[in-house]
Symmetry: C2
Subunit: 275 residues, 2 copies
């Protein structure tokens, strides 16, 4: 017999992204528990709640374990309906709207789908522009737009520059460019000439050579590019370059894209454009 997993449902009348984030934070504190995570977004009608309830009860019966629901439901009515479930229900609005309403001295609006909606057209356009900027200015493809960048990431190939730039664009509307330090740049540990006018926007990423090797092996197994010797050489040269030019940097080895983005913004004092 396989061990039963406890079901954890993330239920929202919107995208479900917020309750997922809360759920992941909470579950991380109970590492090792066997759970089955299910996200049910856009639960915004009596019918949909009904189907969700049936699914939850089915999981409860099959596992013999009381499920958990982390929920974010604006409508009192739908929330009450969910409460009929046998699961442990933790609802963000239920927990926090009352104290906030008291503080603001007014009732909440009960408006669904506002948190991840399009706040305004300007913000939407800024975000799209930022994404296209990050794509156009990826991998040193162009440098003539560096003037307009909020930040320019430097580092060896495959240390995490591209996803970090795209994340900053999507999440914070930042114009993030990146420039790979290639072997040609490594003849000396001086900063490549093309980057010098933008010294204040530069931020470095470095990485443990063994981890870099692992990542590169997946891409081009047994190549010189992916050899430990090459990875060690490149990382050493880039770190020297960054130190010599007094460019702040972070080690990406243990950091997720979210952590890299928020840490580097915090360290370099880069203000988000929105978010």
């Amino acid at each position: 017999m396989t061990e039963s997993k406890r079901s954890v449902f993330f239920i929202s009348d919107g995208t479900g992204l917020t309750v997922e984030a809360i759920g992941h934070s909470l579950l991380a504190q109970f590492h090792g528990e066997k759970v089955e995570q299910v996200t049910l977004p856009y639960i915004d009608s009596t019918d949909k709640v009904q189907r969700a309830l049936e699914r939850i009860e089915r999981c409860a019966a099959e596992s013999g374990l009381r499920p958990v629901m982390i929920t974010s439901i604006v409508s009192d009515h739908i929330r009450q309906q969910l409460h009929r479930s046998s699961a442990l229900m933790l609802d963000v609005f239920e927990s926090y709207l009352t104290p906030l309403a008291k503080l603001f001295g007014r009732d909440p609006a009960q408006m669904v789908n506002v948190s991840h909606g399009i706040a305004d057209d300007r913000r939407y356009s800024e975000r799209i522009e930022a994404v296209h900027f990050a794509m156009d200015n990826d991998d040193g493809r162009r440098v003539r737009e560096f003037e307009q960048a909020d930040v320019i990431l430097l580092g060896v190939s495959r240390c995490g520059k591209t996803p970090t730039c795209l994340y900053m664009a999507l999440q914070f509307g930042l114009r993030a460019a990146n420039y790979p330090i290639t072997e040609e740049d490594m003849d000396s540990t001086a900063l490549p000439r093309v980057l010098r006018p933008f010294h204040d926007k530069l931020f470095g990423l470095t990485i443990d050579p063994r981890r870099l090797m692992q990542i590169r092996q997946e891409r081009r197994a047994n190549s010189r590019y992916a050899s430990l010797e090459q990875c060690e050489f490149e990382v050493r040269q880039v770190e020297q370059m960054l130190r010599r030019a007094q460019i702040p940097f972070l080690n990406a080895t243990q950091l997720s894209v979210e952590e890299l983005a928020t840490r580097l913004m915090s360290q370099a004092g880069i203000e988000r454009r929105f978010g």
Copy 2:
């Protein structure tokens, strides 16, 4: 005298992304309130809490309004220190760890920085690969990798395909390609030949022609490309093409990137690779 704004602090011992998301959901229910939002990430030491507290009290004194703190602090000790503030404090761990600990029958781990950390190397690599896949397969640049795609988005230029693909890659590890329907494809309303083998992976985005015009005007003002006539023509052709080929589609006009991604995944039954 300008009207005072109430300060709302999002405070976390990690990235702050989760408390920001919660805060945005909650504040959206009190639309119209004048608030000043401040995120303080990585508040993980007595010193940092002390500086945060000083800042909060300064805001309280200047505005004459009690601040709000939406917090996510794993350490009991640091949480207690924050409680000394005069602000209204709503802490996710405080609210939810106790009921969960009771359910799981064990104490929480009090581990910081686990929710947005690198869960495992495999997940990290999948995510990076997904991002590079989305970039390489953007804008119909290549089609030879469509075989490996989880989803292929179709639509006119600047309807939101690129940011949606990148978001799905970053957030869910999906391999999302996109293909712009250009004027050459519009001679007929038949699906471009190159897409036909991938019918099951196709998903359309459409958009209100006036909104499309607005977006394109910002890019190339007064061009034929950005004219209302051209936008109307392209949208009409593409919608006919999608209907004729029985490809599901969404109207992107009122939807954020998060909403587009989660709705299309839900509609097309696309399972995330992680997240």
